[in-house]
Assembly symmetry: C2
Homo-oligomer: 207 residues x 2
């Protein structure tokens, strides 16, 4: 068997669709099958460390100048600004994990998924998760019990906008059952690694 | 859930690689999960029926003129000539099975796989099966006990030529274990059906 390079699995979907739960299950199943096979991307941030936080553990802590230099050098795959601080995905550690054959799962914004796909191209698979219905999505958002009616309405409107962009992803799955959705993602990961473009060397070595 | 259109699974690989055994296992697993979900393509031939053979059961029996007219009308996806008779895959029954959501598995030549992919495009996935090694392939051919040394040498040379064309397929898998190879094909079938191009309507219906 050839050693496969790892895969970036970039998963997006509307708020409340259950991306986090599904990805936790995917990680559990991947780790069961092959311990140590899932790598974790640590974000870079310009915010100050809090309490016991250590550089390279919770985050890579950098100054604003350093962060902006990383952007210029193409060392940040995608980033966001939040309360005056940058948060981004650094590309070098990601590349290192892939080289070691680790898969890296991302629960990420639509723009984040597409940026990963641009930068890491053949190493990335993009998946959009749909709710079984808008009524179910609404009930999940309501079930959190923490949101005002106004916020729920706003989130649902935003979800509708996001769902319109599902076609920009390579795969679309429906989260009607966490286990089934997780197994769908596992099948996608398996299939992606069997693509001819990634296995042509195996054929050449046989000749 | 939307009703998926079935998928043509066109599998090629060198003689002795175990295509038939792997596909029998794939069919068994698909039927277990969803009885009636696998359709069987019946070939058209110009040879005469033998014994109890019935039209539309073992083969569709047609005259040479009828067969050549079917070719002209684009009703034959791919065909071969053998001992002065034509054998081909008719497209209408295939299209009908796909419409009913049935998957149709083909253990077929390289040219046959590529022809299916040209004619049925998005409905077809092409998979090339590699042996774990050329030594293993040789030992499998020898294990049949029915071939002369000369024939084995000829088959191996032909296998090497065929393996050079693996890159013309969408997926490449290795048959080091029948069950694993079958599960690889199942993962490919699952993933193909989750492609965004086939699920964009599910997203649209939610909006």
């Amino acid at each position: 068997m050839s050693i496969y390079r790892g895969l970036i699995v970039a998963v997006s979907g509307p708020s409340g669709v259950g991306k986090g739960t599904v990805l936790a299950r995917v990680e559990e199943l991947l780790e069961q099958a092959n311990p140590g096979s899932v790598g974790h991307s640590i974000s870079v941030t310009t915010r100050a460390p809090r309490g016991q936080e250590q550089d390279g553990v919770e985050y890579y802590f950098r100054t604003k100048d350093e962060f902006e230099q990383m952007i210029k050098d193409g060392k940040i795959v995608e980033y966001d600004q939040y309360v005056d601080n940058y948060y981004g995905t650094p590309s070098d550690p990601l590349d290192e994990m892939l080289s070691k054959g680790q898969d890296v799962l991302f629960d990420i914004t639509i723009e984040g998924s597409l940026a990963l796909n641009r930068k890491f191209d053949v190493d990335t698979v993009t998946i959009f998760i749909l709710p079984p219905s808008m009524a179910e999505l609404e009930s999940r958002l309501r079930g959190r019990g923490t949101e005002t009616e106004e916020k729920i309405a706003k989130r649902l409107a935003q979800s509708r906008e996001e769902i319109k962009r599902a076609g920009e992803f390579e795969y679309i799955i429906t989260n009607d059952d966490v286990d089934r959705a997780a197994r769908d993602i596992l099948a996608i990961i398996t299939a992606e690694k069997l693509k001819a473009s990634k296995n042509i060397n195996t054929a050449k070595e046989l000749e």
